[in-house]
Amino acid sequence: MFKALKEKLFSARKKLEHSIEETTPEPARTPEEVPAESGSSPEVLAEKTQEPSLEKKTSPKFTDKVVSFVRDREFIISEKDVSGILDELEMGLLESDVAFSVTEAILSRIKSDLTGSKRKIGKSVDSVVRDALSEALLGVLGEGVDICSFIREHERPVKVLFTGVNGTGKTTSIAKVTRYLQNNGFSVVLGAGDTFRAGAIEQIDVHGGRLGVKVIQHQEGSDPTAVLFDTVEYARAHKIDVVLGDTAGRFHNRANLMNQLEKIRRIIKPDLIVYVDEAVAGNDAVIRAEEFQKSVGMDAIMLTKVDMDPKGGAAISVAYAVGKPLIFIGTGQGYDDIMAFNPRDVVNDLLGDA
């Protein structure tokens, strides 16, 4: 995943380092050279990025500069030094399908981390740049979740509910997570909570059969809450570790369908709500994730179809939009096409040499 993004980041990093090196020899500047406030960054980012602590940093005062130069032998990076490179990085992020608003937010964060920041002469340029990028990305991706420890720490059966819009891969992901949990020694039961889409019950039933797990199901058109309730009951009675509850895909702008999901949540009280979206989704990924988060909430994100779009920008968009961790990524249609998501590894990999 993230191959293209990795290349962009690598080239941006190298260029940033280069341009910062170039500016170091003359740290004491005249007042006219103090960079002006950025007037070019679009308004959309304003809402999300106005953290007061960052604000202060964006326009270094001349006196600060002098003081830091004279006293601490530090230097200050100005916005002018880096803006061209950041523009390029912006294109790279957009082309990797990081949503427009998220791209703007990430860039302004990098910008404010980098520019106006004081650097001790001893610290290498590489590490200043790397830290800024790494902070920005980790800030977006957050800490991961390890599902196995999560299950161990919770009372059984642990109830996991899968939600998301139509066709993103919920049911297939449930099958994959089943295999993953089986491999880690847990027992699983599935609830055929998509009672709406034609063929949906048969789909999950076939998966259950192949994986050798029980699938609790009612008729097409029946109440999904009832099916999932029965699934939890079954798990209790049979001492099964984990309940994976399927739901029908639905759009966040359909109030009645979202209410139905809310009802499921209220009655089933899932321990973990996994919101499923696909890597190929563009800007809408942000909108729908936010809406799902607002209405029924979510605890973790699973991003599917990464095999179609290894750029993976949607991962960044969705995680940023809702501030929840990615738990898994799906990389194909087979049961083993699943990977636990570890943000630190991913960011390290992203910032490694391309």
């Binding site: 679009p42 294109m91 957009l94 082309e95 990797s96 399908d97 427009f100 819009v165 139509n166 066709g167 993103t168 891969g169 709406f196 889409r197 034609a198 063929g199 949906a200 019950i201 048969e202 789909q203 999950i204 039933d205 076939v206 998966h207 759009f251 966040h252 702008n253 696909e278 190929v280 989704a281 563009g282 800007n283 809408d284 990924a285 909108i287 729908r288 809406e291 179809k305 095999d307 179609m308 779009d309 750029k311 920008g313 949607a314 249609q333």
Partner: protein, 437 residues
């Protein structure tokens, strides 16, 4: 799709109003707004940059013809370039044909197959479907269930592994005129599956190869479309899930990549939710020029003639009786909002109350109007306090509700009066386009 584009552009275009020379800064601003809207709609980044370049160049270099204002000149250029982006109009013929469905996993191929089956059947064709998805569990049951709903035969064999064989057998058996072949999902990097669809295309000798794309598809759209096009020569794109909040810009990039056009738009999960797509009227609507043609078609398709009189609606001679008919018709035409979006409202803002009438309220209004006399229905100005009291009693409604109805009526009347001017304005504009083009 690009709905927010509409208002952005209208604002930007307003800045050009009344000017005779093209203002460079105003053009730049317009381009910036355009870029933002297109990028947010998922149009391919490179395409957006190209489009901006073209518009900038044309707007500044081309001499506006005599008598054409700066605003009209730029509007025309934006219009033409956007129409090019959305692609050409794809003709749907009502003859014997085989349609091969292609697309990524989960994009909506199967659902759209059923929608198309219903579409052709409603047009009087004999239709059959072949289920060539041998991979996804439940695939056959899914398409069979949907086909049963629209009374279309479905050929398939859930125990057969070979899609090619199913298709060959199906073609040999099926006598229907229109054959739609539903296939499994695949993507650009799955070479085996790309080979499979190449084979299916050869076996079926398909008349159409339609690429079904999710409205939310992002920057990948272009690359995916390129691969499908290279494999089977895509001649039309269907955008699904337009009932969500996604803008379909990725699918537009796919259209550009395949040099085809958008054939249909999917707007929901049920088999009725399919709309035929006309790029010109879509863009006109977007730029606020309205689309009387689409309205007329829609009205004709779904309502009997005596139900509603569009001319009356637009003539400004709009009585309560017209509104009564209209309320009845709206039921069949779909949400009022959608109907009104097809009207040439120009830059005019529609009052929010006009759109927010619930079905429940509408039926209440009808009950109230049922207890009005002919005189009142034909000439609402006669309504006074005592008449209102009588009507309320007769309808079992609150006085408030009757007053609200009258208020609603007045607002609708004003709205439709406004439309008339809009229509003229549009005709004028269109004429100008014609002359220049």
């Amino acid at each position: 799709m690009l709905d927010n584009l509409g208002s952005n552009l209208k604002d930007a275009l307003r800045k050009l109003a009344g000017k005779t020379v093209i203002d460079k800064a105003a053009v730049e601003e317009l381009i910036k707004d355009l870029q933002r809207a297109l990028l947010q709609a998922d149009v391919n980044v490179k395409q957006v940059m190209q489009l901006s370049q073209t518009i900038r160049k044309r707007a500044l270099d081309e001499q506006p013809p005599k008598g054409v204002t700066a605003r009209e000149h730029v509007l025309r250029i934006v219009y033409e370039e956007l129409v090019a982006l959305v692609g050409k109009k794809v003709e749907v013929t009502l003859g014997k044909q085989v349609i091969l469905m292609a697309g990524l996993q989960g994009s909506g191929k199967t659902t759209t197959t059923a929608k198309l089956a219903r579409f052709f059947k409603k047009k009087g064709m004999r239709v059959a479907v072949i289920c060539a998805d041998t991979f996804r569990p439940g695939a056959y049951t899914q398409v069979k269930t949907l086909c049963d709903k629209v009374n279309v035969p479905c050929f398939g064999d859930p125990s057969e592994q070979d899609a090619r064989k199913i298709v060959r057998d199906g073609l040999a058996r099926i006598k229907e005129e229109v054959i739609i072949v539903d296939t499994q999902g695949r993507h650009a990097l799955e070479d085996d599956l790309i080979t499979e669809i190449i084979d299916l295309n050869e076996i079926t000798n398909a008349d159409h190869r339609w690429l079904v794309l999710d409205a939310a598809l992002g920057q990948q759209a272009r690359e995916q479309a390129r691969r499908f096009h290279e494999a089977v020569n895509i001649d039309g794109v269907i955008i699904t899930k337009m009932d969500g909040t996604a803008k379909g810009g990725g699918a537009m990039s796919a259209v550009a990549e395949t040099e085809s056009g958008i054939v249909f738009i999917g707007q929901g999960e049920t088999v009725e939710d399919l709309e035929w797509f006309d790029p010109n009227s879509y863009i006109s609507r977007l730029l606020g020029m309205g689309d009387l043609k689409a309205l007329a078609e829609r009205v004709q398709e779904s309502i009997d003639e005596q139900d509603i009189d569009v001319n009356a609606m637009l003539s400004g001679r709009f009585t309560l009786r017209d509104m009564y008919r209209q309320l009845e018709a709206v039921n069949k035409m779909g949400p009022l909002k959608q109907v009104l979006s097809m009207l040439p409202l120009g830059g005019m803002e529609l009052p929010a109350e006009a759109l927010d009438v619930t079905a429940q309220k509408m039926s209440k209004y009808r009950v109230i109007m049922d207890s009005m006399t002919s005189v009142e229905l034909d000439d609402p100005t006669v309504l006074n306090g005592s008449r209102i009291q009588r009507i309320a009693r007769g309808a079992g409604a609150q006085l408030e509700e009757v007053r609200e109805l009258i208020k609603y009526y007045k607002m609708m009347k004003r709205t439709f009066k406004g439309l008339k001017g809009g229509e003229k304005g549009m005709q004028r504009l269109m004429k100008k386009f014609g002359k220049m083009g």
